[in-house]
């Protein structure tokens, strides 16, 4: 049941990391998506002018799927930025083809209970007709502002209010080919080719700067691009044609909710919301869909009780690895200036493709944070560095530059 009618769009980075694309491939839907949107394997990271390029290694992807799903079939190294009005329709059609009854334009307004147990929903059709449906289990795949979670008055845990503000739009007229993720000072920028021959062009920064930024969204958008990458800033200004309005959000505080209870389950942003800065939301929605549906299937097939099946889902989603990545994203979302040691590490990685690839996999939550960010590994990376930092201006007057970065650029 969805209140929207498809095709329909929603705020999103539209980004699917390789594990996200792998799920689509496992479900037989990747080709349909690729027919409507470009995809690549190489990601370009540029931090304070220190450029790194790489792709997520296949072996780490396989390992990730084996550990999470005990099955590494269908993994691919591609990523894509796909508009939701393209993707969601493909998903809805696939659900119908698979035998699901999909109700579009149907607003779920309340839950039905038997004691504490959720036993169905009450909703309204677009025509205004009130409908009750009973169910053995109700799954809330209804996003950050989940109606299911709100109706159940579920608490939020591990709240991390510090987050980014993000503004973006869709530009045609230039082609940077592969995804560009840049950072300078307390600002970030992503340019990723997306559906309809456009580029998802996004800037973000610490939410405490948001008030000043929105004083002149268009002006500050370009100011941010120029600051982070003068070359890309000029390209967007001179060759880019903005195809839609600016979109933005500054309400991205991270949280967890309880993810299952009597008669209900939450998946995706509804159970765990994180800042956009790692662009993992859609990928996680797919992951949860596979984890939760596997668990529920095992119950429906009579293989184990529902509680046991859901505990399995819960333990994977609240694991040590999940907690470490949650912290990683929340820390990144503070958009502090990059530290001297981080920049030195990026320089060291320029001569180490394997570890650059692993960093990208770690950033995307494919390889565990604890394996890359481990003292003995970081020491070795530093020791093995073949490049010196001389070539990068950020090191010339690091302290004063960093101080200047702390001033709100839009004030």
């Amino acid at each position: 049941m969805d209140r929207s009618s498809f095709p329909s769009d929603v705020l999103s980075t539209h980004f699917l990391w390789p594990h996200g694309m792998s799920y689509l491939n496992r479900w037989g839907l990747m080709d349909k998506v690729l027919a409507a949107t470009p995809s690549h394997t190489v990601v370009n990271l540029v931090n304070e002018g220190i450029a790194l390029s790489g792709e997520v290694p296949l072996d780490l992807l396989r390992q990730h799927f084996k550990e999470l799903h005990q099955d590494d079939s269908g993994v691919v190294q591609r990523y894509a930025s796909v508009r939701r009005k393209v993707l969601d329709e493909i998903l809805v059609e696939a659900a119908v083809e698979a035998g699901a009854e999909v109700r579009q334009g149907f607003a779920v307004e309340d839950l039905l209970y038997d004691g504490d147990r959720v036993v169905g929903v009450v909703g309204r059709t677009r025509g205004g007709e009130r409908v009750e449906e009973r169910a053995r289990v109700v799954i809330g795949a209804d996003g950050r502002n989940s109606m299911v979670a709100r109706t159940l008055r579920l608490p939020k845990h591990d709240q991390r209010p510090k987050c980014t503000f993000a503004y973006w739009s869709y530009f045609s007229g230039f082609d940077l080919t592969t995804a560009q993720l840049h950072r300078r000072g307390r600002l970030g920028m992503a340019v990723v080719p997306t559906s309809f021959g456009q580029n998802m062009t996004l800037v973000w920064g610490p939410s405490e700067w948001s008030k000043e930024f929105r004083g002149d969204i268009q002006g500050n958008f370009h100011k941010a691009l120029d600051f982070i990458s003068p070359e890309i800033g000029e390209l967007v200004r001179t060759s880019g044609r903005r195809e839609e309005r600016f979109f933005g959000t500054l309400d991205q505080a991270a949280f967890l909710r309880p993810l299952a209870g009597p008669g209900w389950v939450l998946v995706g942003d509804a159970e765990c919301f994180k800042d956009q800065c790692t662009a993992t939301g859609m990928t996680y929605a797919f992951r949860d869909a596979e984890l939760a549906s596997t668990a529920i299937h095992s119950w429906l097939a009579g293989e184990r009780p529902l509680d046991e099946a859901l505990n399995d889902y819960r333990s994977r989603r609240r694991s040590q690895v999940a907690a470490a990545y949650y912290d990683y994203t929340c820390t990144l979302a503070e958009m502090q200036t990059l530290r001297h040691d981080e920049l030195q590490l990026f320089v060291a990685l320029r001569s180490n493709q394997d570890e650059t690839n692993r960093l990208i996999a770690t950033h995307a939550d494919i390889a565990p944070v604890s394996e890359f960010f481990q003292a003995s590994n970081l020491f070795l990376l530093n020791d093995a560095a073949k490049q010196s930092s001389d070539a990068f201006p950020i090191f010339n007057d690091f302290e004063n530059t960093t101080k200047s970065y702390r001033q709100n650029l839009f004030a």
């Binding site: 929207s4 329909s8 929603v10 705020l11 999103s12 939701r84 209804d142 996003g143 950050r144 502002n145 608490p155 939020k156 845990h157 591990d158 709240q159 209010p161 510090k162 939410s207 405490e208 008030k211 969204i217 268009q218 044609r241 195809e243 839609e244 309005r245 979109f247 933005g248 959000t249 500054l250 309400d251 505080a253 967890l256 309880p258 609240r318 040590q320 690895v321 999940a322 907690a323 470490a324 990545y325 912290d327 990683y328 503070e334 530290r339 001297h340 040691d341 944070v369 604890s370 960010f373 481990q374 003292a375 003995s376 590994n377 020491f379 070795l380 530093n382 020791d383 690091f398 960093t402």
Partner: protein, 556 residues
């Protein structure tokens, strides 16, 4: 798309709705629609304009935002400003402001100005909990002294918020209970899992007497390098005893365990050689490897297959150089151990040499205190055995043991930390000698029996409460916490609740896998261990509630 024709950005529209609603509420000043329409035409006009502004803004909200902010009843907003009649608009607006708006106002404000921007947090606590030590590893600037100040600021914030777990001091002997002071001068007493004295030798009369006798016989000072005149006849006796305990008779003593690990690798490995090292091996081994050669390969923890892969690769391209494979016996923050027979066999197949650090297991585990090597039936079979006295032998110091007299002489000369350090003091040497003798005696078996009763009680109680004890039963009981903030707050709470425990985090453990390392002693009574487990469990629950955290075992 030019700016004039482009719809406004959603945030701006939300701001417009809030501003218009606030203006209307202010002008109404508690009056109802009827009263205003009857008596105040100017306000009626303003209200009608507000209704139009709200309705227009709501209708301009993008489809993206509607689907995202699905909790806002946009339809109710959209109806405003559509009637063309100002009195109807005023009535609708008043009903809207009375019924719908109060329910959604907070949610819309959160979209316009999130709560955290309105409510600042304690900056000290935030700073203390949000950073890791490694954040300060590469400070910038040419002034080597001044650039340490950022780290110091962080330490001070950790101290002020009582989340700095380091630099606590003892007020009395570190037995199964202890009195300690934290570095703010606050004192506490508790069941002590914070000291490493697995066999409780610190309080053993024979050990204390051995120290006293050595003090009387030789004085407190060794007065020289062991290569010159720092050793005594006790040193020779100790080397012999240790040789029998480890099954490797050629023993070299070092002033600390760290010096033994670092010195052994630095003494044997040259820049063209290779070191293949477990990624969780002790810091002294990691740093020794990095100091000796750039050819360092970290392998997946405990994986013999990974070692085999590395050795095969290295030998395929370098048949001439030496390869040292390095592992802990009992890993000091994970409490697990490798398959030594398999590792040693793989090393022999590739002409590599195996070094095993038995600092945490020798004396406290295995038949006759022979540690992991004895447990696995490998006494006398491992190439190089290195250890420390600081866990089960009641003293500083370390050693290297092998079956080769040549290795012994070579490491003494070229290991650096042996030649160029003062020798163990006579008292330290005598203490370790006495400890070794007890370890090998029936009394040693009895002490290890008591130690393992306490270990089992602690692990059972913690596991029974749904907490995760890592590794296998050993004097180290690592209690996994994970998130650093949770571990730091738990640590702060534990301080006042009667358990002394050491919290380890990065760089000792990888990021995101902090834990308590509980070190058990033979003097811990099982009931004491169970009581400690109950207190720890309670503190974790309180810390989780303080942080409102849902990660980990105790799920909501």
């Amino acid at each position: 798309m030019n700016q004039e024709t482009s719809p406004r950005e959603d945030g701006e529209l939300v701001g417009e709705i809030l501003a218009a609603a606030d203006l209307a509420i202010g002008r109404l000043d508690g009056r109802g629609a009827e009263e205003v329409l009857r008596a105040d035409p100017e306000t009626s006009q303003v209200l009608a304009e507000c209704a139009t502004r709200i309705g227009e803004a709501a209708r301009e909200i993008s489809e993206m935002m509607r689907n995202w902010a699905s909790h806002i009843p946009w339809e109710a907003f959209e109806e405003l400003g559509t009637s063309q009649k100002s009195d109807i608009e005023v009535e609708r607006l008043c009903a809207f402001l009375r019924e719908e708006f109060p329910r959604t106002r907070a949610d819309m404000e959160e979209m316009w100005e999130p709560g955290h921007l309105r409510n600042p947090v304690d900056p000290d606590e935030e700073f203390a909990l949000d950073k890791n030590a490694y954040d300060f590893y590469r400070p910038a600037g040419r002034d080597l002294m001044r650039r340490t100040e950022d780290f110091h600021d962080w330490v001070e914030a950790r101290r002020r918020t009582e989340t700095w777990q380091y630099s606590r001091v003892l007020e009395q002997a570190p037995g199964n209970n202890a009195v300690i002071t934290n570095d703010l001068g606050r004192r506490t007493r508790g069941i002590n899992f914070n000291s490493q004295d697995y066999l409780s030798f610190n309080a053993h009369p024979a050990i204390r007497e051995a120290a006293a006798k050595a003090l009387r016989d030789y004085g407190p000072h060794s007065a020289g390098s062991p290569m010159v005149l720092g050793n005594t006849t006790i040193s020779n006796e100790l080397e012999k005893e240790l040789g029998e305990l480890t099954g490797a008779e050629h023993v070299t003593l070092f002033p600390t365990g760290w010096a033994a690990g670092f010195g052994t690798i630095a003494g044997l490995v040259r820049p063209e050689d290779h070191v293949v090292i477990d990624r969780l091996a002790h810091s002294c081994l990691q740093q020794g490897a990095r100091a000796a050669t750039r050819n360092v390969y970290r392998y997946e923890h405990l994986s013999v297959d990974a070692v085999r892969g590395h050795l095969r690769d290295i030998r395929a391209r370098d048949p001439r150089s030496g390869i040292l494979v390095v592992t802990d016996g009992l890993f000091s923050v994970d409490a697990d151990w490798p398959d030594l027979a398999a590792l040693q066999a793989v090393c022999r197949e590739h002409d590599a040499t195996l070094l095993v650090d038995v600092a945490h297991d020798l004396g406290a585990t295995g038949p006759g205190g022979s540690g992991v090597i004895g447990t696995q039936g490998m006494l006398g079979e491992v190439d190089l055995v290195m250890g420390a006295f600081s866990k089960s032998f009641a003293s500083n110091g370390g050693f290297l043991a092998s079956k080769s007299p040549a290795v012994k002489q070579y490491v003494k000369m070229f290991g650096g930390s042996h030649f160029f350090s003062n020798a163990l003091s006579p008292m330290q040497t005598a203490v370790v000698l006495q400890a070794t003798r007890i370890i090998r005696s029936p009394e040693g078996d009895e002490l290890r029996g008591k130690l393992f009763q306490a270990i089992d009680a602690l692990r059972d109680e913690l596991s029974g409460r749904g907490l995760t004890c890592m590794g296998v039963p050993s004097p180290i009981v690592p209690l996994l916490i994970g998130n650093e903030k949770l571990a730091r707050v738990t640590n702060r709470l534990l301080f006042d609740q009667g358990v002394l425990a050491f919290m380890v985090e990065f760089p000792v453990t990888p990021t995101g896998s902090s834990r308590f390392r509980l070190q058990v002693q033979a003097a811990h009574r099982p009931e004491e261990a169970r009581e400690a487990a109950r207190i720890i469990d309670r503190s974790i629950a309180e810390a989780r509630s303080y942080l409102s955290s849902a990660f980990g075992n105790d799920l909501v």
